[in-house]
Point group: C2
Chain length 334, copies 2
């Protein structure tokens, strides 16, 4: 491993041209008029020396880092994996590097301080809430940012999915199977996605002229789902189906139902929002509503690339939302 500290000047010297020429060749500057032979000398020198541009110098001069950040609450939640994939591939095709970070033992504020100024050209925030001071922190950083999957209360700067429609699809599926007592295992009280899915649930129930079943809120985790399911099944009129706001809670919800001595789907049907590969391997395989999460990440990057600090973004991403029927839903008992 040899300490390669090759600079533009080294390349220029080898190719017997000015540094400016090398720079323009690398950046394909259209104003550059150059002989084919000279260009080749430059290219050969770059190759022979193994030259790679120094990002710090370039960023300093151009005030652009060609890097976007993506901030998520937790890597363990597989739902974010999809978003990351979409965002990464779109960033790559636009010539940006996407870097993903999460807030472990540190809020966004501290994270932004460590990121510093000029390291990233824009920030995507997935799953962030309306934490106090969040917007202020972002604005202090003076870079464009967009929230994914969260309609921030304070500013118009978000891309979301059609969660209401996703919820409606799930509920309609249950109604079509013949269910009438459909409960709702909702997301955490503060979360915007949770609110929209609950709204979709209510709308669909109204549409079907059914009374809203019991509704219990829980975090988007298996543990939360299990606890909430226990409470749902505790009531006098046990629901025959449950619409779960998130696949992670649904995994816990299934366990909760089993602990209560129920068999899925014979005694209770379960359908959840967000599809994962995992869903087909659960027992029973979980019926889900697939959302275009990768597309959400992709769209976020695209918007970010063309965004100025004061621009507004308020978009509900159009994209395929479909019910993936598996084995966790069936007609009600009796």
């Amino acid at each position: 491993m040899k300490r390669s500290r090759v600079t533009l000047a080294d390349v220029a010297a080898m190719a017997r041209v000015d540094r400016a020429v090398v720079s323009r060749v690398i950046n394909k500057d259209p104003t550059l008029n150059i002989r084919q032979e000279t260009r080749e000398r430059v290219l050969t020198a770059i190759d022979r020396l193994g030259y790679r541009p120094n990002v710090a110098a370039r960023s300093l001069r151009t005030a652009r880092a060609h890097m976007f950040g993506l901030f998520i609450p937790d890597f363990a939640n597989p739902v974010y994996a999809e978003i990351i994939k979409g965002a990464e591939s779109e960033a790559a095709s636009q010539g940006y590097v996407l870097v993903t970070g999460s807030a472990i033992g540190a809020g966004l504020g501290e994270y932004m301080d460590r990121i510093g100024q000029g390291r990233i050209d824009g920030l995507l925030l997935a799953g962030a809430g309306d934490e106090a001071g969040l917007v202020e922190h972002l604005d202090r950083a003076a870079i464009p940012w967009i929230m994914l999957n969260n309609r921030s209360r304070s500013v118009e700067r978000y891309v979301i999915l059609d969660d209401e429609r996703a919820a409606a699809l799930a509920v309609e599926h249950l109604v079509r199977l013949g269910h009438r007592r459909i409960a709702h295992l909702a997301g955490p009280a503060g979360a915007d996605t949770a609110g929209r899915r609950s709204a979709g649930y209510s709308a669909a129930m109204r549409e079907a002229r059914l009374p809203e079943g019991p509704i219990v809120a829980a975090g988007y985790t298996p543990a939360g789902g299990a606890a909430a399911m226990a409470r749902l099944l505790d009531g006098p009129e046990r629901p025959t189906a449950v619409f779960v706001a998130n696949v992670a809670s649904a995994i816990g919800a299934m366990e909760g139902a089993r602990s209560a001595g129920l068999e899925i789907p014979r005694d209770v049907s379960i359908v959840a929002v967000h599809d994962l590969e995992l869903a087909s391997y659960l027992f029973p395989a979980l019926t889900t509503v697939r959302m275009p999460l990768a597309e959400l990440g992709r769209r976020g990057v695209t918007l970010l690339a063309g965004l100025k600090p004061d621009d507004k973004v308020a978009e509900v991403l159009a994209g395929p939302i479909e019910l993936i029927q598996r084995r966790s839903t069936a007609p009600p008992p009796g």
Copy 2:
């Protein structure tokens, strides 16, 4: 949102000192001798102007980016989430930013090109194989790097876990329950972890004076696990227990067993390497061997911070490895 392009010079002007003083105050330069009053003027100015150091300029000057990279194959694999968490928190406490990326539609080579030179001070590679040209790419980048969980064939530059011991713990658990026909659902043929876990399986079987059951390799995915399990159960002498090399494949393996009409653990016991929150919510809850994955990430960062490009690292991380007994293992039938 105001375009904050505050520089050292602005701060210096406001505090009526030289830029050098501001710089030294910020970096807590011990050689700086300064009056308390002056220091306070500087601090106030920084605060009033909302100054944040420009990372590009700093990196250019110091040739350090204070950023480490972590490269993983796939965000969807929850095993990496643990590694990321450990690495992120350690990086933060050392004053580094950790950025995680994966190779989506691009190999490490292209990724490194986009990362450029000088953006990161070191790279952690988790789950990378011995792909051709990998080491060359890394060496061209002229930064320290370490492989996690993979004993690279070509260079001594890795931290791994004691996979053999993990496998032995799993097998011993099965033996203790009374199993004698213990099959092995191994990892992908090329993977180093797979090899070590298989070695551990063989050693433990030998120790118990049991014949090695059928061994089938599969990728670390649910789909791979399901297919492999089908083949395992296809033989003449059906095993009464299966040691699965990875929790993701185990999820598929459980489904494979069910498809074959078997009940877990009544007909077949299953134990897998790597614990996840998810494991308790599967049906039946999966017995696993917990490995110190977060510690692996943490250790990687620590080593990276003190590594010079030519240093060697070859470490088997000592750390707690324990069997988490749940419901997927029981005495053999009969």
